[in-house]
Symmetry: C2
Subunit: 540 residues, 2 copies
């Protein structure tokens, strides 16, 4: 344990929260309190007996407060080895200080307030980091507290150990101290670099949790939390099931990107970071049914994310307790901002299902980062759906004036990996849904083919299930009422021809190709309504 009795403490804080409380406890135990300037006044006013720092330093407070604590006497009192250097300390009249309570000038606060350079400079603390680092280095003998939220832990430690501090606690606080000074100087360095027009970025992540493995089982992995953010994917609440895997976390991020910022109830079904099912509308069970419709094969083993409280009637769509096991829809993860009564119990029928409480709208990321070997790419988020909706051709079946459907289609295509094509429609019950998508192709024509194939299969199955007689007529009619959305412009008119063959009559794309004229001409010839949005939505 190597317990050290606290006989003398140096207290000098910028954030004065609870300082009377902790200094009072120390003082009552007979500990001498040494203090400076404003801290000293606060403690004296609270009736706590305080020694002025200048009695220790032998120097006055000087230069408008720039010099208060830094001195041979104070830093020696913190730094000398209580065994090896004991004689030398005595001869130099240095008496040990056992505890430092210190936090730093509010540099970050001033940055937030938009302070100019001279004010920022004045808020660079020099004496504080010197004391903190001296005490931290000598943690074998000295305790350093840099965070007011640790005062209670300090009190507990003192009362439990008869006014002594354990080495374990000193080591823990010492690590916190160096994290504190590192963060402090990083904030200064980044701010000043920015003032000089130099772009630098410092990222701090902690609370690392080892995952079972990475993307594959032969890869190790750790999930770290950004220590400066309020809301992080690492804060997900696990309500049930196995720990999230590396791939689950990537899928949940893709789900968040898909269902964010939608006022109605929305559901995304994610497989390999892409929504293969996606729908939105008013009735949650209908919405889930229509999301499932998007790819009922791939939906098995998927991640399903909701943007509203999950209702029991929706959850029951999964038929997890159906006596006919072949009817049970097994998925890997279900995520929702909240769960209605009975839902967790119901979902727990599937014992491996991971249930996650997570509000996709709680995370607002203004930028994202991409790590490439030894570098990072920083970019602002893809938050603009379209520039303007410019109808460049008018066709014979108009389904392109449905503003909600247009926006839904753009949100769908923005969430899907490039090259991406989606086909979306408003169902007969008014639900907006993805009927098929093509993703990740090196060639736009293949993506279009994939989206059309999937749409046709889905509609055929729907017609069959509904007992519709003329299935092909149903499919063609429904496709005519759908919109095909492309994440980037069509470089050639072949995509339009392929789409038209399957009955597509409404197309949205950004435009901007050198062959736009040719593409527009083909759309006219094929009787297709086409909108240009002016905004590409590549996602990789």
């Amino acid at each position: 344990m190597n317990l050290i009795k606290i006989k003398r403490a140096l207290v000098s804080v910028s954030d004065k929260a609870d300082i009377e409380y902790i200094a009072g406890i120390l003082s009552k135990s007979g500990c001498e309190i040494i203090s400076t300037g404003g801290t000293k006044r606060r403690l004296s006013d609270a009736g706590i007996q305080v020694t002025d720092i200048s009695n220790i330093t032998g120097n006055p407070e000087a230069f408008d407060g720039r010099m208060k604590t830094i001195s041979f006497q104070v830093e020696s009192a913190l730094l000398f080895d209580r065994e090896k250097d004991a004689e030398e300390a005595k001869s130099l009249n240095v008496k040990p200080i056992d505890l430092v309570i210190c936090n730093l000038y509010p540099f970050a606060e001033k940055v937030k307030q938009g302070a100019e350079l001279p004010e920022l400079i004045e808020n660079i603390d020099i004496g504080g980091p010197t004391m903190i680092r001296s005490a931290a280095k000598n943690y074998k003998w000295v305790t350093v507290i840099t965070d007011p939220s640790d005062y209670q832990k300090l009190e507990k430690e003192l009362t439990e150990n008869d006014w002594h501090i354990s080495e374990q606690f000193r080591f823990q606080m010492m690590r916190k101290a160096f994290n504190h000074t590192a963060d402090y100087d990083a904030m200064i360095a980044t701010t000043l670099d920015e003032k000089a027009g130099e772009k630098s970025i410092r990222l701090f992540y902690d609370h690392g949790i080892e995952l079972r493995y990475g993307e594959n089982s032969h890869q190790e992995a750790v999930l770290y939390r950004d220590n400066t953010t309020e809301n992080s994917l690492a804060d997900l609440e696990y309500l049930h099931g196995k720990q999230l895997s590396y791939n689950n976390i990537l899928d949940i991020e893709a789900a968040q990107l898909t269902v964010r910022d939608i006022p109605q109830t929305a559901v995304a079904i994610i497989k390999h970071l892409n929504p293969c099912g996606f729908a939105c509308g008013d009735d949650q069970k209908e919405v889930l049914t229509n999301a499932w419709f998007g790819d009922p094969v791939s939906a098995f083993g998927s991640i399903i994310a909701f943007n509203k409280k999950l209702e029991l009637s929706s959850a029951e769509f999964l038929e997890l307790n159906n006596p006919d096991k072949s009817k049970r829809k097994f998925i890997e993860v279900i995520a929702a901002p909240d769960f209605a009564e009975g839902v967790i119990d119901y979902l727990s029928f599937h014992k491996n299902l991971r249930i996650i409480k997570f509000d996709p709208d709680s995370i607002k990321s203004k930028f994202n980062l991409r790590f490439v070997h030894g570098s990072i790419l920083w970019q602002t988020s893809d938050d603009k759906l379209y520039d303007s909706l410019n109808q460049v051709t008018e066709g014979d079946i108009d389904w392109i004036s449905d503003q909600d459907l247009i926006e839904f289609g753009l949100k769908a295509v923005r969430s899907i990996k490039s090259n991406a094509i989606v086909i979306v429609q408003r169902s007969d019950k008014g639900i907006l849904r993805l009927t098929g998508m093509g993703t990740g192709q090196p060639n736009r024509l293949i993506a279009t083919q994939l989206a059309l194939d999937k749409t046709r299969t889905n509609l055929r199955n729907e017609a069959k299930d509904a007992g519709i007689e003329d299935i092909e007529e149903y499919v063609t009619t429904q496709i005519g009422k759908s919109i095909l959305v492309s994440d980037a412009y069509f470089p050639f008119a072949d995509n339009l021809e392929l789409a038209a063959e399957s009955g597509i009559r409404n197309i949205i794309q950004p435009g901007g190709s050198i062959r736009d004229k040719k593409v527009i001409k083909t759309a006219r010839a094929l009787g297709i309504n086409m909108l240009f949005t002016g905004i590409r939505h590549f996602r990789h």
Copy 2:
């Protein structure tokens, strides 16, 4: 300019490189040099007149060197405002110090050497950061140099300004100083956290270059370089053409992942972060031709990466100066570790082509990072191709004993986004090549279908070009001599049935499904050779 004359300098360095050189220059100009311990001895030995620091501090060096510089006198001399505080300084007998040359105890070095905690603790510098930070805060009057590589700049500044320093230089060095102390404490904090079993990670990137835009033109983007790495994608040499775009950089990373660690000459053709063409062998032009074969449609507008010096005969395959413009193969970026004579001139026929000098084997990443909202996922790289090659079935056409082809197929599938299927073969001329791939699908069956479709199309075109009469027989024979590789296990036997229909007789997959027995049974029934590798290669 606000020029400050350097009359007194404090020199105290751990890294003593070139210290006599810069101190000598200062001394000759009449500047007083104050120094400590080892630095002082070095300078005295070089015949430079030095004032001992204890003459300034008024204190002895104490506690085994833990106390040398920290004192009211030294830090006051660095910190006081030369205008406002002039009177006070005089009354306290504080004389200004105009320059600090200081670098810190080699903590990082000791970490690398695997030093134990007590030795690490002794190597936490206290006096150094205090001097550096004091001087940096008072940059309006004081210059601080923390990097020996800045001595020449300091000399230039001094000689150009008649032994004065400009404010611009002082500000620049001050920013560098705070970056230095931030990095230093970050290294300490991370190392000590690790010793305590706490996982934290700190990342520093600088030299940020604003890109024209991000993934899309409505997104801003910056490329930063990791300041701790030796080799970074940000160090690419641009030899010709427009600046690299955000998406180019992502594609180059994908190219690097594909062609790394291949002893023969290898070529990858990248589109949307996937190799759509990939080949390796001895004759570079043949290799490029076979890589192009993989997807001659998508190859237009692609990124082509070589792992060896690009020869003129290979470059000429692109026919960039063909009078028949339709024959010219336009690509976006070409990257190679080196270029034979005449190649750059030849490639410059295409004026927008970006030519990049880049050695894919210069970058060895042991881990990668993935940013998710407010968190990061750290994982080790996917560097293990297979666990063991376990032949679980023997079929009627054996092409699975070609070890080089197996490894090539696994390298191909590892580079492709999941779900991924590749079909690879050894061409009649002995080149290993990708004949078709399926990528990014929510459902493995679609990926298999895509790889088969592409392979058939490519082989048909090859047969046509070669004037082969029985095209379908050629296609089936070639497919029989190919291997289909899956990045993850087949959950059902349907993939095998689909592959067998097209003539596939050789399959490699990790295995590990609960339905492996059924899949093996189907492979036997279909006469398919199947290898299990034990290693999945998801990439997202």
